[in-house]
Structures are given as C-alpha cells and as structure tokens.
C-alpha cells in the first residue's frame, strides 16, 4: 500500500498542480521520484506533526491540496488539536495520511500502535475516514479524496500487501459486497479483508458460506450496502485492526441497535488494553482472534 500511495501521489501531482506533500520526516525511499520531479512540492517539515498540519492548513487556504504524512499514531495523536482546528474548523481539503495503522508496527511497541486513529479522526465532524484494504483501493481512492474537497483521513498499511478481486467498484463512501453468502456476514475494514476472504475460502468445503462485506470507507458509512449485506444473515462479525471505540464495530453496533430484527453481533479485533511486550503483529492477531485461522474457527463454532 505504501508503494501504491507513493506512485499515486506522483501521478496526482503530475495531473493536478495543486497537489503538495508534507511529511513528518518519514517515508524513506518511498517518495524519491516525487522529490526529484517536484522538489518544491515535497516538504519535509521535520519531526513536528503539529507544525506540519497547521502549515498544510495554511497551504490549503492558498488553494493547494496538501497531503500530510506520518506514522498513524503520531499523525492522529500528536497533531489532534491542529487537525481539529486548523483543518476541521476551517473545513479545509487536507488529506491526513496515517501510515501503519492498527498493529502494523506491533513489535515497535505501544508508542507505535495506532488502534485509536479512526476513533480520534471520527471525532472531527465531516471528516471522511478511509481504511483501504489493498493497494488497488489506495490507488483508486486517492484521487476521489482530492475531488471530495473536504477534510479526510486515510490509513495506509505497509509494503507488499496481497490484493483481492471484486466486481464491486471502488468508490468513496461505498461498501463492497465481496461475497454474498448466508447466515454469517463478515464485515471488514482495512487489510483484514484478506484474512476474512481466506477464512471464507476454507469454510466452503464444510458448506459454510459467509457473506463478506468490506468497508474501505468508515465515514460516510454506506448504509445501503450494509443492509444488503445483512440479507439472509443472523450473525454479524466485525473484523477490524482497531480498538473497540470509534471504529467500524461501533458504527455497525449503532445501526444494529436501531434495527427491527435481532442480529447477533460479534467483534474480532484488538481489546481495550495496551498491548505490552512488543509482540509481533501475527501474535496479536492470534491473541485477539482476527487472523484467518481464528475467523475460520469462530465461524465453524457458530455454524455447529
């Protein structure tokens, strides 16, 4: 996804002279071509996230379309007030980019864990929230973010994530119904969609066909596709690389609470605790039951 982001950014800058990129001293090697092509439209602000965001807001007021880039935890946590006031209050079209959300940087420790980035950004009214599932979604959604002309947050993963295929188009604000099954619906956001699809594949031999619905856009939430995903379904499982508060799980729970039929709700993802001990991402996915094996097991248990 990081590569897709860098490549797409360069293409966007070539097509749109308003595109400008600010980094909090991160992204080694990813933006070399961009720096070479547009030296003045690449600004390394230094390790100064608050300044980066305020500066981007000033640029947006001058007509630019800035992207600000740092590790998700620092981007959303350190610069929260600048994002709220300089971008949100002024309603400026700045794209806030959080690299490595959730437990992407699990082994770097709690400082680098970003399982609250979506929650924090969801507190800013009107901010679009995007968690693409694969590099193709990053590529397709970035130009749509610029065109939307409003504040937005996009979380991007690291390098070399697998891709998945779906007939469902990649449109900002639209969920993607990747598989239509029955009884169980797996609702995902971010790269975790791959885990869900892998689990769904393995379940087929046992005659279990869960629906898989992927939300690269958490806000604005696509209620129509959400309702469609619930057809023939009595259990919803939200799978997300994010904490309990403020992510996809909470968006789904709010909607389930208002429905006239009872649908069981389960959530697989990080718990409400600091994950100490610098474990690997794989270990944490196992612990919090959102790797492919755990998803598969949960579906089997439910289908007995």
């Amino acid at each position: 996804m990081r590569r897709a982001f860098g490549d797409t950014l360069l293409r966007l800058a070539e097509e749109d002279e308003r595109v400008i990129f600010l980094t909090g001293d991160l992204g080694f090697g990813v933006f070399d071509k961009f720096i070479e092509t547009f030296p003045n439209r690449y600004i390394n602000v230094g390790v100064a996230e608050a300044q980066m965001v305020a500066c981007a807001a000033g640029l947006a007021m001058e007509g630019w379309r800035p992207f600000v880039y740092s590790i998700a935890s620092f981007m959303t946590g350190r610069a929260f007030e600048q994002i709220r006031i300089a971008i949100g209050y002024h309603n400026l079209p700045v794209v806030v980019v959080g690299a490595g959300g959730g437990y992407t940087y699990a082994s770097s420790g709690v400082t680098h864990h970003a399982k609250e980035d979506i929650a924090l950004m969801s507190l800013i009214p009107g901010m679009s929230l995007l968690v693409p599932g694969d590099p193709e979604e990053v590529t397709k959604l970035m130009p749509q973010l610029i065109a939307s002309d409003r504040p937005s947050y996009i979380r991007i993963g690291r390098f070399g994530e697998p891709t998945f295929t779906s007939d469902s188009p990649i449109e900002l604000g639209r969920g993607r119904l990747v598989r239509k099954g029955q009884a169980i619906a797996l609702l995902t956001t971010g790269g975790i969609v791959i885990n869900a699809l892998e689990a769904a594949d393995k379940l087929q031999s046992d005659g279990i066909f869960p629906t898989v619905c992927h939300f690269h856009t958490v806000r604005p939430f696509d209620d129509a596709t959400f309702r469609e995903a619930l057809n023939d379904v009595d259990t919803v499982i939200v799978i997300e690389d994010h904490g309990i508060q403020g992510g996809l799980g909470m968006a789904v729970q709010l909607r389930l609470a208002g429905m006239d039929r009872r649908i069981e709700y389960l959530r697989l993802g990080p718990g409400d605790e600091m994950a100490l001990g610098n474990p690997s991402q794989e270990l944490l996915m196992q612990k919090y039951r959102y790797n492919a094996e755990s998803i598969e097991q949960v579906c089997r248990d439910l289908s007995r």
Binding site: N40, I43, V45, G46, A48, A50, Q51, V53, A54, C55, A56, A57, G58, L59, A60, M61, E62, G63, W64, P66, E81, Q82, I85, A86, Y89, H90
Partner: protein, 293 residues
C-alpha cells in the same frame, strides 16, 4: 479595486502620530464597551495590542474594505484569538463595516464572536482561540507565496503567553529553515497571562526576542505603545533578507486607563457601568458604536 502586485513595495507614509493615537483611543474605548455589552472580552489582552493593530491597518497592510477578498491582499492572522475585540474595533474604525453592527458582539450567531472566527466574520482570516496554531498556518501561506514568487506578506499576531506552546517553536524552526522573509510575527509582550507572568513561566534568563533570534529569526524589540517605534519597525520589514522577522512589542496589559494597566484581573473582568464611564473619560474618547450623535 484590485491590488497591483507589480507595484514596488515602498515605505508607507503613515498618518501623523496624533491621528494614530486618536484612533487607538477610540479603539480602546470600543474594547471596553464591547466587553461590557457582551459580558466577556479579555480587556487586558485587547488593550495591550490596540496600538499594534492601529499601526498595521494604517496603510501598511495591503488590504482595505474594498480588497478584503482579493487573493493578492496581505494576510493578517490574529493568533491570539481572545484579543479579537481590538481587531473588530480597528476594522470598524477603518470603515470595513458599519460600527453599529458590533452591538451584537458575543451574542449567539453574531458576526462578532468573542474569539476570532473566519466563518462568522468575513474580514477575519483564520479562526483562533486555541493558542499556538496561527503561526503554523502563516508558514503555510508564506510557503505558497514564495513558491509562486508573489509580493505578499503574512503577519501573525501572537501573545507572549502563546509562546508557552511548543507548537510555536516548531513553526519558528520551520519558518527559519524555509527562509520565509515574507512572514512577520508580532508578539504582544504584555507579560501577563491568564493567571501568571510570562517572565516567570518562560524563565527570566532569556527574552522572547533572543529566543526567536536563536531560532534563526531577525528580531527587534520595540515599545508596543510608541507609534514612532512601531511604524519604523514595520517600514523596516523584512529586517533581513532570507529570514523571518519578529517584532517583540513590549506592551502593558490593559494599557490605556489608570485602573486597568498592569492589573491581572482585567484578563477576565467585565467592565461595570462605572468602569466604562471612567474609561471613556480617561481615554478622552467615545466608543465607535452605541453613542447618540
């Protein structure tokens, strides 16, 4: 009337000092009345920066009631958003709007809220109230100006208490690294914050002008209530090519009346009818609105 950017920026021929002082007295009287009418108003912070604002809007800033939406205008950012009554009064005095409009100050949905808001007040460039954000936004504007090779300036008014914020120094470092000589910071150095003295809170060992200098800025301290020093400093900008400039204006909180000068409690105090009467008498000026002709 559009601003002609090809026109060489010459030293500004300011009005006579007595005129500027009269304007400032009217502005201060208006600040008192706004605070009394609105029930809030940060009188001390508004009065300390009144002379700075009057000087800026006396022809030095390239903006006028006709050009306030012109993309080529100079940008004035009031980063100390709580001092905004002094800006309203200055703009009213300069004819940006009918002064009587200010009667709605601090009322719900007023065009004149008690912290600066771009969405409510068309002549206000940015929305502030949380300290330490305006300078960063100014650096973004200055970056754009330099990239486009424009002759425009960005002036950011900060309080000295604001310089407690670490984000100010992130912005200061950036402005230096980017050689932003079209960026001007003015610090209203009144040495009085909400509950403390800036000199105690930042430590007495170094001054704000030396702190900025260490951050690579060209720095000058002036008496912020002396129009000669203020206007000379403005006409000398930028102080050095290739460096951002800061004017550290030594001011007195609540400047203008015997009972408000240097008194910490005037940060929040709402003037009583008696205070108003005394203020107008000592200032020898009436507010710009709400007076029968």
């Amino acid at each position: 009337m559009l601003l002609n950017t090809n026109e060489q920026r010459m030293p500004v021929d300011f009005p006579p000092i007595e005129d500027l002082e009269l304007r400032a007295r009217k502005v201060r009287a208006t600040c008192f009345k706004l605070a009394a009418d609105g029930g809030e108003g940060h009188v001390s912070s508004a009065l300390s920066c009144a002379d700075i604002l009057v000087a800026l809007y006396a022809g030095w800033l390239r903006v006028s009631p006709e050009t306030y939406q012109d993309p080529m205008r100079d940008r004035f950012l009031i980063s100390k958003g709580h001092g905004v009554t002094a800006l309203y009064a200055t703009l009213a005095e300069r004819g940006y709007f009918d002064p009587e409009e200010m009667a709605s100050y601090a009322q719900p949905n007023s065009m004149f809220p008690n912290h600066a808001c771009r969405l409510m007040t068309p002549w206000v460039e940015i929305s502030t109230g949380s300290l330490g954000i305006g300078l960063g936004m100014g650096t973004g504007m200055a970056y754009s100006i330099k990239m486009r090779g424009l002759d425009r300036r960005v002036v950011v008014l900060m309080s000295d208490g604001e310089c407690n914020e670490g984000s100010v120094w992130e912005s200061a470092a950036f402005a230096c690294a980017q050689k932003q000589d079209q960026l001007v910071a003015i610090v209203d150095n009144n040495n009085s914050q909400a509950v403390g003295r800036t000199s105690d809170l930042l430590g007495p060992e170094t001054t704000l002008e030396s702190k900025f200098r260490e951050f690579g800025w060209s720095s000058r301290a002036v008496n912020g209530h002396d129009f000669k020093e203020l206007t000379d400093a403005l006409n000398d900008l930028p102080f050095e090519e290739g460096k951002p400039s800061v004017i550290v204006a030594k001011t007195i909180g609540g400047k203008g009346t015997s009972f408000s000068e240097g008194q910490m409690f005037w940060h929040y105090r709402v003037p009583s009818p008696e205070d108003l009467e005394n203020a107008f008498r000592e200032l020898d000026a009436q507010p710009l609105y709400g007076c029968s002709p």
